[in-house]
Symmetry: C2
């Protein structure tokens, strides 16, 4: 019984050594040199190339190195019967919380304008409302979304959330389903997208959604590039309907050098770092989940493929 | 019985009208045209010019439009027997909490480097530790400092505080007095100054303090410009011992155009906006405090001049 690991080439050896130390009972092998494919029972992967996983006929479990699984399920030849485990370590939640809190505050406190004034030595005291009069909206109320909503509430914001199905989070106004999407968007001044990427949510950040937000609203996308219709965002920013966009995820990553987001004055590009996994903490979470799976214990991070996340 | 108001000229009429509406029982008059000085019983002031307050022989109370009172007590001719009330509205605490959380996260998440990479279209994924491995230190554990410490803890940081006298705040490692200043500084990677400005704290952010911080530490000053020895900070940044400084307050405000902070690549200048008072909320807090004072009820914001804040 062996395990195969697929990550970017620069980090492969580190991950092999690290996972081998954490899971001494299983032989860890590199993706490109897996030995006898019949021996591979487990695969730990980030963005595996299409067709790659079907090489292993005795695969018992696929581990996604991240909380999203679209990078795995995109594969048209994926062996659909194999269970998938996500990695939702405390660490990922912590990092996403930091990113969302930082970027909501950055827009709320008008930091882009303050930073732009510095090279001109301009002392411009810009007043903004206190956070309790700023309405933030979180789309997606899974682990990450719910945690971010609670943290923003603790900082003082007026927070609402929207999810496909009804949720209850103390202190957060929760909207659900297609019917309640419009009232949620109409009250949202800073929108944070933390939805899973599914056929229903692909392209959800589009012209119609931007029109429904109030004038001067801003958008933060730290879910997946596939949620956003890039040109619709550029149009809404250029028309002045939206004030700012902070984008961590893109249709193609790294974001191609010729993409207009790079030099748009109202777009902040961050290079998919919102919840970049810390290898130490992530490796530990992956080993814990695999051990539970192998022992037949419940694994909360096991994906429900019916829901798609 | 009348009240005199001293603010910047641009906002004077707004404040006169607003306070008159909130305190219909007292006549509100402008600082520069106070009528019979014997009739002035109360003064609401921001940076009153030296000698200005002693014009009113029957003054019963001075209200500082802010949580600091150094802008009042700096006056060598201040009538020392007149009680001073600070303005520590919920609003000020809320705004300071936002500012400190934003700027600690900005440094923690390496946003200056990420923003600097964007014009070069550089996709540079910089890893930083999770917040629970980042040690933040708050100097000054009054209303504002304690609230910021609690909020940073809720975001996930490893937070310690230092104050002149021992304090206890749940979840926060509290250091006190001169003896414990060194261990506090030695463990602090991001230092936030929220001290009151007193003879003992003037110039406390100096070369010796910076040397005690670990290499690569950063400093955020949102207390008073008088806490900082400007040249010592520039030296510590230029030597590379400190990574960044975020400064909201300055010896002279507005910060003079020729000051080296403006174009220093490691200094972010914000124009004294950390807890810029919201006139609506501030006016209400001032009126409430004055009414309590006049009625002889306890006023928690009354200053203890022995302590100097």
């Amino acid at each position: 019984m062996a395990l195969v690991i697929r990550v970017g080439p620069a980090r492969q050896q580190w991950w092999l050594d690290h996972m081998q130390a954490l899971l001494p009972e299983i032989e860890c092998r590199p993706w490109d040199d897996p030995g006898d494919p019949n021996e591979i029972a487990y695969a730990i992967v980030w963005k595996p190339p299409p067709g790659g996983l079907k090489r292993f006929p005795n695969l018992k479990c696929i581990v996604s190195m991240g909380s999203g699984i679209d990078h795995v399920t995109n594969d048209p030849e994926l062996p659909r019967h194999v269970p998938i485990i996500r990695t939702t370590a405390f660490d990922l939640t912590q990092r996403m919380r930091e990113y969302v809190t930082l970027h909501v505050l950055r827009i709320h406190r008008r930091l882009p304008e303050i930073e732009a004034a510095q090279p001109f030595r301009e002392w411009r005291q810009l007043i903004n409302p206190p956070a309790y009069r700023r309405r933030v909206g979180i789309m997606g109320l899974g682990n990450l979304g719910a945690d971010c909503a609670r943290t923003l509430k603790a900082v003082g914001f007026d927070v609402a959330g929207w999810a496909r199905r009804p949720k209850a989070i103390e202190g957060i106004t929760c909207f659900a389903g297609d019917d309640q999407r419009r009232p949620f968007l109409e009250r949202t001044e800073i929108l944070v997208c933390l939805l899973p990427l599914t056929p229903e949510t692909r392209g959800i950040l589009n012209a119609e959604l931007f029109r429904t937000l109030p004038e001067g609203a801003s958008v933060i996308n730290c879910a997946r590039g596939g949620h956003l219709v890039d040109q619709d965002l550029l149009d809404a920013l250029d028309r002045g309907h939206l004030a700012y966009a902070t984008l961590d995820v893109f249709h193609q990553e790294p974001l191609p050098a010729e993409h207009p987001f790079w030099d748009h004055p109202k777009v902040l590009v961050t290079p998919h770092v919102a919840s970049l996994i810390d290898p130490e903490a992530g490796g530990k979470a992956i080993a814990d989940n695999l051990r539970r799976f192998i022992a037949g214990k419940p694994v909360p991070d096991l994906v429900d493929l019916e829901q798609g996340y």
